[in-house]
Amino acid sequence: METIVSPKPLLAVLVSLVGALLIAITGERLRNLRETWTILASVTKFGIVASMLPEILNDKVIEYTLFKITSHLILHFKVDALGVFFATTASFLWIITSFYSIGYMRGLKEHAQTRYFAYFAIALSATVGVAFSANMFTAFVFYEIITISTFPLVAHKETKEAKRGARKYLTYLLGTSVAFQLTAIIITYNLTGKLDFSRDGVFETDVSYLTVTITFFLYIAGITKAAIMPLHSWLPAAMVAPTPVSALLHAVAVVKAGVFMVIRVVLYVFGIDLLKSFDLGTILATIASFTIIAASVIALRQDNLKLRLAYSTVSQLSYIVLGVALLTPSAVIGSIIHIVAHAFGKITLFFCAGSIYVSAHKTEVSQLDGIAKKMPWTMAAFTVGALNMIGVPLVGGFVSKWYLLLGALEKGSFEILSVLLLSSLLNAGYFLPIIYRAYFKKSPGHAYEIKENPFMAVTLTITALISIVIGFYPNFIASLAKEVLR
Amino acid sequence: MIRRTESLLVETVCRILIPLIQLFALYVIVHGHYSPGGGFQGGCILGASFILMVIAYDIRWMKHRFSEKKNTLMVALGVFIYSLIGFICIFLGAEYLNYGIFHRILPVDVAKARSLGILAVETGVGITVMAVMVSIFLNLTTYGKHEKGEV
């Protein structure tokens, strides 16, 4: 494998930090200029990240050492296939979300918009930072920055409820990461003297079962952003945030950063061989399976649309964890593809929820009767997103589920297979009634006219279309995912 | 707060005793470097003589003879003498307070120079100790109002 030294990963991180600074300086008075900065930063960021793609596909690795703090605590970037995969998804969706945010924030005439856009940019910086981290320390730094920079976004409304939600959010994310993840990192360093991610894991083969098990579960408990039960309840609590935040951060950037870290830990810290020999994957798979089913069941009973989506996210994230936990090639590919497929699907769904809220001021599922006539684009996109989640063929979600099923078969585990099938049924169970209501129930008359916001309608259509594109042409993404395993 | 009692006996005895005490204090200070005694002990005795003066007469009278400004000046003066000797040593190229080096500027040998150096330091210490003793006593007896002049 060839290594290129280039500051591109650093630039990718810095672009949105500079953007945040410019946004903060520009302020509310020149809002158009401020929004220009957001768009510019997001496009540049995507450009930089995408420019690394060809090199990565040619089996090269880009590295950059930013700063040696001590001999082993080094801020070090390393771009590999997995990282660039995640970074591309996140930075691409940021462009779309930026447009959507502008529509949403202006549509609702929200307060503190400057703060909103600035912290959004910082959060994205840190997300890309996590994606490009070469060692646990760097990843931990950016992981914490994500937590802290999204806190103002969750507490955006500054109401009592928002503050309570934000407090819970912070307690879970920061508390567990400091208590468990940091401990796990230090134990890892103490045992191995290394913090770098490496293909074969950093542990020697002669470590004791107990130590590895404890460290492994400290990591899993510490990476709360992956929302594995029972440490999931911050995610529904975070739904008090404005919808674009829920859409990008709590369906893509933040939670995927968590899942991404889980993948990194499983594949690059412990390594497949070690986990296989200790059979730790099965335990993780069991937890993930439980999360998938339990979260889906809870989602069935939610009336609030965003909460239902949140529990759906909890459940879908565990697909990814499950795929990695199976430790078979197809399952890992499936979970990597699911990062993208779920990202586009769920962001569409959240965009729709936001669009409905802005145009019709409705938040509950039971209020959606006959809304499809008033908001045709939104509901069409919603349908695509829902089909994506269920895993209907020709939509993105199908591809990942296919690989996951293959992985379960490779493993020969009938239980996992049945979990996947059952959860698909449950997904259908909580999404289809919404679609049914929107299209076939009669709308109760409205005193005001419901109109779709063009900014939002366009963006959510784009993400829905991309979901379909992934479903039709899965080869590109699948080949990139296979690159990870090579 | 101490008021004048105007007891003839006390005042007369003190009038005779105080000069003697002060003389003895000076003796203790100047002989400190080669026999029992020294700046601290001498300073204490000297301070005690002033305190006796306050007790026998009163503070107002005492301050009339020996004002607070003078007292503070004494505190600073003693320390200055001490530190000056130390700094001169540094300027002459030796360690701080290494007064053996004085033989370069004084027409004496090293041992004598040391003896003179310590005498100077003891004098400084004596002055400071005396002044500090007096000022502690005054501050405590007047509830700290002594600086404001409300005796």
Partner: protein, 124 residues
């Protein structure tokens, strides 16, 4: 028995120290506490001085007529010098403590600790 008599200086200093310590901890009156503190410090000074004592020895000052100097003849002067400094420290601590007591008295018009605490509680 030998420990009791042979090291009587230690027992005296420990006894004095405990008296001082008791006064510092148990007495309610602030001045008594400070007096206890003084006893405590004095005990330590006695301890130091007693360690330097030798039987049939004299103060370490050379008399001019004397020609041979025998270290055995003299007691160790260093603890005395150290304690001279310690006394200075002690006096200044005593001074500061008294000054603080004067301030306390001005504020609370009492020197009993429990009364002061009572006053503080009432204020709350």
């Amino acid at each position: 028995m030998e420990i009791l008599i042979g090291k009587y200086n230690y027992w005296i200093y420990i006894g004095l120290m405990m008296i001082g310590f008791y006064a510092m901890v148990a007495k309610k009156n602030l001045v008594k506490k400070v007096v206890g503190m003084n006893i405590f410090q004095t005990a330590i000074i006695l301890f130091f001085i007693s360690t330097s004592y030798k039987k049939n020895a004299t103060i370490p000052i050379i008399i001019k007529s004397q020609e041979v100097i025998e270290p055995i003849q003299y007691i160790n002067p260093l603890p005395h010098v150290l304690m001279l400094t310690a006394i200075v420290v002690m006096v200044s601590t005593f001074g500061v403590a008294l000054a603080v007591i004067v301030m306390l008295y001005k504020q609370y018009k009492t020197l009993e600790e429990d009364e002061i605490i009572e006053i503080l509680k009432d204020k709350k």
